[in-house]
Point group: C2
Chain length 205, copies 2
Amino acid sequence: MNVRSPRRVRSRRGEGDRLREEILNATEKLLIATKDIDAVSIRAVAEAVGVTPPSIYLHFAHKEELILEVCERQFAAFDAYIRGAAGECDDAVECVKAMGRSYIRYGLEHPEEYRFLFMSVTPEWAAVRVRERIQGLSGFGSLVTAVQRCIDDGAFASGDAFTVACGLWTGVHGITSLLISKPFFPWPEQEAFIEGCLDAYCRGL
Amino acid sequence: MNVRSPRRVRSRRGEGDRLREEILNATEKLLIATKDIDAVSIRAVAEAVGVTPPSIYLHFAHKEELILEVCERQFAAFDAYIRGAAGECDDAVECVKAMGRSYIRYGLEHPEEYRFLFMSVTPEWAAVRVRERIQGLSGFGSLVTAVQRCIDDGAFASGDAFTVACGLWTGVHGITSLLISKPFFPWPEQEAFIEGCLDAYCRGL
DNA sequence: GCGATAAGTTATCGCGGTTAACTTAGCCGA
DNA sequence: TCGGCTAAGTTAACCGCGATAACTTATCGC
């Protein structure tokens, strides 16, 4: 019957960017709802917005650009989450551990988003933007600061705070990503395992 | 002109499995040659073997099954690589570090394969097979053994060797996978960074 | 009211995985 | 030796995907 899906009203002149926003929102919603990046097709997004597929290309060069932009929004959400957890501690080492804990928790609670942000290989053309996003994360900055405090307090051996922060990042990323990608592995009891790893990492530094 | 690609000779009766082997070999070759999992399409594999696409489905239920089987071969190669490095050390802690080092090196030298083995979310239907593969890795067994030796020697605090091994695994995986997925990040100088992380991990245990 | 142009749509391409239905070669028993 | 069963493929096609070229339509400024 070719029942036209309820077309949305066309934007006024000069308000073309409204569609852009709607596309981004719809894509984000779809990603979260389906929990499956493969379900997020240009056609599905267009359908959700109430527009035809080619219209997407008026606002995004290609699919990956659209996804990347959604991804950048997720970075912000992620960052806010981490920062929230990091604020409530006075001991520097505790602060580092708290950030690690919340990093892992975020990943486990938002596996699809985490997968997208940190587990997929970033294409060449997006490298600069993604690097800037990661470096711009106030969470990462806070981590470096917290590590520096640990070093100053003598809790960590002296060394470069940035390097140490990178090591901690890879550490929590390893836990998060393997728990996401291989959930069926006979992991030790999760909470204790995570605490044990965080303790060991911090003790060794 | 529809020049028939040089068709391979049809297998004799009862020798149907020869095609299966040829498909697996071609897929593996393609994966290694193109270094791009997306380039490995059913059609490309069929072309490489000299057969039509539907023939693939005589031997594999779907594409992922084919890929999984190639993946299982890669597990064996990976395992051999790790074991090779682990054999040549007497000190238990050095042995653990050596395994970590070679784990990371393998990943960095075979990023596409590593991505496939450890960075992609294993689908439900493959979970059992993949879990068995990982647990069956003699490399993992060797790691647990080495960790146990460290504990017995008093180099590591007492604890469950399997749990500790899991922690070490997530640690080296974190380094490997982030270096692969975010190569543009301003990482510290690689070799020193890796050594530093390995040292810290072992010191903390 | 009229033309320029922003904001879309229609129609179509080529590629991917996958399936149903057909063909062909070789072995086995009468 | 000949007929048929069946293993080992092929042909033709479907559907969904990302993407593009060419067309339409509504709105704004003059």
